[in-house]
């Protein structure tokens, strides 16, 4: 059976680009730009030895988080991944507390206990990044069940990538969501790689969006580098979910701008394809839609000073107290 490769897949379901409020447009631009700068700075900090463990940059994929989160209300939930900084930022997290967490400081979101792979932000209803690939999918499905039980109006947006789409909990969760018409949106960030394994080598059918219909929900494939397209598709899915009409699977195609993590040069990646994708850098695609150079500049300046302060704050922050940590152990 011939395996359709992702690039052959048409970009369905995008529909006519509805006019979108400038406020939202600027919000998306801020988040794409902030994520870009955040990741570049984190990579520096990592190389300077401020960061331990794994660091998985979201470079090149920023439009997916920025576009989809723009379609959510603050009360809505997101569930994130090991490549989660962009999700966290776009849902409205405080950069100070993020950098502090990534540096393992007491002032971080998780008191320095989680790090980059486990950032969790209660105040923005971000149910956390996750170090177990695929594990966030049933968590999101369950959050949607909980919302239904307590008759809430929130929806849940769960991010995961193509590797996670190989895990059985993905179809299991789609089936739960469709069976119970749960308010959840499955955002499959198809960046074409799971570490070094390309999608073509890990799927019998590389049309990932089509799994939606097989499990009882619309499956829509879109250009993940176009924040507008992501916003519009997510908006429709969120309305559907909020109206009790059930879940949606969105496959947003994108590409990492580098290796799997900060130390991976990603030499196995097809450099020509990478160049093509970089030519459609989500930051530039969106910049093209923000007419006013001045407003962009404003946003960029604000982001940079915000980020500078955040890094300063994190570096000045104390290490967590060992005594406090030890005192808490009997709870576990």
């Amino acid at each position: 059976m011939s395996k359709k490769t992702p690039t052959q897949k048409a970009v369905k379901g995008k529909g006519p680009s509805k006019s979108i409020s400038e406020k939202l447009l600027l919000q998306m631009y801020r988040n794409v730009y902030a994520t870009r700068q955040f990741e570049l700075k984190c990579m520096d900090l990592y190389r300077q030895g401020f960061i331990r463990g794994y660091l998985h940059p979201y470079l090149g994929e920023e439009a997916i988080a920025a576009g989809s989160c723009a379609a959510l209300s603050p009360e809505d939930y997101i569930v994130s991944t090991h490549r989660g900084h962009g999700h966290c930022i776009s849902k409205g997290a405080d950069l100070k507390l993020m950098v502090a967490e990534i540096l393992g400081r007491a002032t971080g979101y998780c008191k320095g206990r989680g790090g980059s792979m486990h950032i969790f932000s209660k105040e923005t209803n971000n149910l956390g990044a996750n170090g177990i690939v695929g594990a966030g999918i049933p968590i999101a499905t369950g959050a949607a069940m909980g919302i239904k039980v307590r008759k809430g109006k929130e929806v849940v947006l769960v991010f995961f990538s193509d590797g996670a789409a190989n895990q059985g909990v993905f179809p299991e969760s789609m089936n739960f969501a469709a069976t119970f018409d749960l308010p959840v949106i499955f955002m499959l960030e198809n960046n074409h790689y799971a570490v070094s394994t390309p999608v073509e080598c890990s799927f019998g059918n590389c049309d990932l969006a089509c799994k939606g219909e097989a499990y009882g929900m619309p499956g829509i494939c879109i250009d993940g580098n176009d924040a507008m397209a992501v916003y519009e598709t997510t908006k429709r899915a969120a309305d559907r979910a909020r109206n009790g009409e059930g879940p949606t699977l969105i496959e947003a195609k994108t590409y990492r701008h580098g290796g799997h993590h900060v130390n991976d040069p990603g030499l196995y990646m097809d450099q020509d394809v990478l160049a093509e994708w970089k030519a459609r850098d989500p930051l530039e695609v969106l910049a093209g839609k923000v007419k006013s150079k001045k407003k962009r500049k404003n946003i960029e300046d604000r982001v940079e000073s915000e980020l500078k302060d955040a890094i300063e704050f994190a570096k000045q922050s104390p290490q967590p107290s060992v005594d406090e940590f030890l005192a808490g152990i009997p709870n576990f």
Partner: protein
């Protein structure tokens, strides 16, 4: 005060908590329409409807992972996994997710879920439906572990487990569901972490839990006739462990035997025996022994199954050997 069955006590706790707190709900396979294979959820669907009594597709990994998510989103899910043997399927959701979220999130996230399941041999259900796997949950920080032996404890501990803000494994035993005992009519909870002296004695302490508590009591009765006074300490909850009660009893008797159905190798008994040695070596008049299940998969044939599980005779012999 009524005499009711273990499964009726559990059922009553579920009804009362679901009436008290609208965020409490149950989900599992064939628990609604059918009321669960052991009838613990019987009647719930009728009163609370399919929104709060959810018959799910057959997928334990997502069923359990979803409970964690529902808990993080402000509800108190109670999941039923029909056999503890099947908890191997959602093990990631328990070990890496539910157990760790509060810690990893620096205290921002809470997972007040209860996973109800049952274990143990005795019905010729063979190697995949007869295991006792509590040692796994006992070893994983972040999980509470409850294993009641009587209807009274089952009711009171389930009430407390549902109200607890930590993920709790509530492990029942298939041979206990039909056992009867007195349960007061008024509501009560039993704090997690309190062992219970099911029988007082002076010569030896039998430290046990779940179904083996009944066997220990039988053995103790026989031994009384021999003039040996046995104390039977039912742990009731393995996590938190009531170390104080254990050390107090051993301090009195000077001799202890840990009795459980799970395989001896790597079972909870070794941890408890080692803890006693570390904390109360000078109180001991002899080695702490273990009377446990044999280190083998459980066979189908009943004659073979029987020899895998501690018998009253095994317990009696062990007690006599140390006194």
């Amino acid at each position: 005060m009524a005499e009711i069955m273990y499964r009726e006590a559990l059922n009553r706790a579920l009804f009362e908590e679901m009436r008290r707190d609208p965020t409490v709900f149950v989900m599992g396979e064939n628990i609604g329409e059918r009321g669960g294979s052991y009838k613990v959820t019987e009647g719930l669907l009728k009163e609370f409807g399919p929104e709060r009594v959810i018959d799910t597709p057959l997928a334990e990994a997502t069923l359990t992972g979803a409970a964690g998510g529902a808990a993080l989103a402000g509800t108190r899910p109670i999941v039923e996994i029909l056999f503890v043997d099947f908890t191997t399927i959602p093990m990631d959701a328990l070990v890496n997710q539910a157990a760790k979220f509060e810690f990893m999130s620096g205290g921002q996230g809470h997972v007040p879920m209860v996973l109800r399941t049952q274990g143990g041999a005795g019905n010729g259900l063979a190697a995949q439906h007869s295991q006792s796997l509590e040692a796994i949950f006992y070893h994983i920080p972040g999980l509470k572990l409850v294993m009641p032996s009587s209807p009274y404890d089952a009711y009171g501990l389930l009430i407390s487990a549902i109200r607890d803000d930590r993920p709790t494994i509530f492990l029942e035993h298939k041979l206990l569901y039909m056992t009867k005992g007195e349960v007061p009519d008024e509501e009560y909870g039993i704090p997690l972490g309190q062992a219970d002296i099911k029988k007082e004695g002076d010569d030896v302490t039998l430290i046990t839990y779940s179904y083996m508590t009944l066997k220990c009591l039988e053995a103790a009765e026989l031994l009384e006739k021999e003039g040996i006074s046995v104390e039977v300490l039912d742990l009731r909850t393995l996590k938190p462990l009531d170390q104080e009660a254990i050390l107090q009893s051993v301090g009195k008797t000077g001799r202890a035997i840990v009795v459980h159905e799970a395989c001896k190798r790597g079972g909870v008994g070794g941890d408890i025996a080692a803890m006693i040695m570390e904390e109360a070596y000078d109180d001991l008049d002899g080695p702490v022994l273990r009377v446990c299940g044999k280190d083998t998969p459980i066979p189908y044939n009943l004659e073979l199954e029987k020899v895998c599980i501690p018998t009253v005779e095994d317990i009696v012999e062990a007690v006599i050997s140390v006194t």
